[in-house]
Amino acid sequence: MSQQAPNSDPGMRVELSGAQREARLRFRRFAQEHVAPHAGGWDREGRVPPELIGRLRENGYLGAPLPVEVGGGGLDAITYGLLTEELARGCSSVRSLLTVHDMVALAVWRWGGRELKAQVGPHVARGELLCALALSEPEAGSDAAGVQTEARAAEGGYVLRGRKKWITYGQVADLFLALTRCEGKLTAFLVPADAEGFSRRPLGGIVGTRASLLAELEFDECFVPASHLVGRVGFGLSHVVGAALDHGRYSVAWGAVGIAQACLDACLEYTSTRKQFGVELAQHQLVQRKLTNMITDTRAARLLCYRAGYMRQVGDPGAASETLVAKYFASKAAVRAANDAVQLHGANGLTEDYPVARYLRDARVTEIIEGSTQIQQVSIARNPPGEL
């Protein structure tokens, strides 16, 4: 057995830098002050208010992962993950705004043409123009390649025709990254909300991430200039929306960690104050078992997110596969945690007096969006990550 010298390099390290710890504290304070206390009310009202969106913008939280030189926040992947976790710990509907805006912002920055980037890039990077992903359709959900929205070339641009559904922040977004079929090939366009032939209507009756201002969109002979083609005809899903979804999975994974942590916070508090059979709930061994599972799941999910974040940060080609694993595990862990959190709260857990029922509804969303758990199972098996 080799012996290690006292001051030698210990090898693998899993710890945040000082700057990352400071940033996390800053994000946590923001979420504790401006997000968490209001999340229940926003959930009931079905909307995140414009004032909060303004605060996110002022703090540089919209467009945070884009480089500083293009107007973004320049956050490294891990710090961005910490931001996402802390916001989700307060409110998953707020987290979902970051997710969809940054998915599109990154895809446009990555694959948009020079003219488009010059026109909208800095506004998107600073969150002055809000973005949303227009992917799902009434008949195309997990089967993204099955989209029926059509685009055809016209003088000076393209004309879009079709409908999109379940579009997160579709009620207020200024720009939509829409996946269409052009010349029979999957193709992405950036569609401004003020484009002629574009309309939207709010989508109500949502159970999870209720304040995410979902909408249904219609493109009725909707014209966009040629410069709004993102990438090339035929590369809309594989590269443009693919890049967006890859970021979305990373963001949702961290968001799920935030939910799991919020469940743990709520349960540690509740089980240490409520008494049954003469002692605090936390004294009962079956309750301890649930708390232990929650603690372990949350930490394991966070470690997978750290791993995916590190790989993204260093540009490792395997980062997308690692992100699949993180999203798959974290979203399932969040559901387990939220389910147990409701159980530990008993009847109180099913009321709006406590946040855990909202956590459960929001956690279920993370198992569906940016690739359902079942799609992840297929994808991970087909794209196994490399050696750990």
Partner: protein, 83 residues
């Protein structure tokens, strides 16, 4: 086979299992490359060879064979050397 093609082939071997990929074989036609793999391939080419693949480069004929990827790299590296 040159070094570049050898490196790409090695990377693709994780995706194209149990198949000895020829220089001019179409990896998309073989059905091994899904959308996630296509993204990973772009990331690999950028990181391994220090180039930036841009929207203008998005053409299947730049990525479908080892020969064509090598030709793309040749062009990109020549351009960056001129700058």
């Amino acid at each position: 086979m040159n070094d570049r093609k050898e490196k790409i082939k090695q990377f693709l071997s994780k995706l194209v299992r149990n198949h000895d990929l020829k220089d001019d074989e179409d990896i998309f036609a073989l059905g091994f490359i899904n959308s996630l793999a296509a993204l990973q391939l772009v990331s690999f080419l950028e990181k391994e060879f220090g180039i930036a693949i841009e929207d203008d480069d998005l053409d299947f004929s730049n990525f479908n064979t080892l020969n064509n990827m090598d030709a793309l790299l040749e062009r990109k590296l020549a351009t960056s050397a001129e700058v």
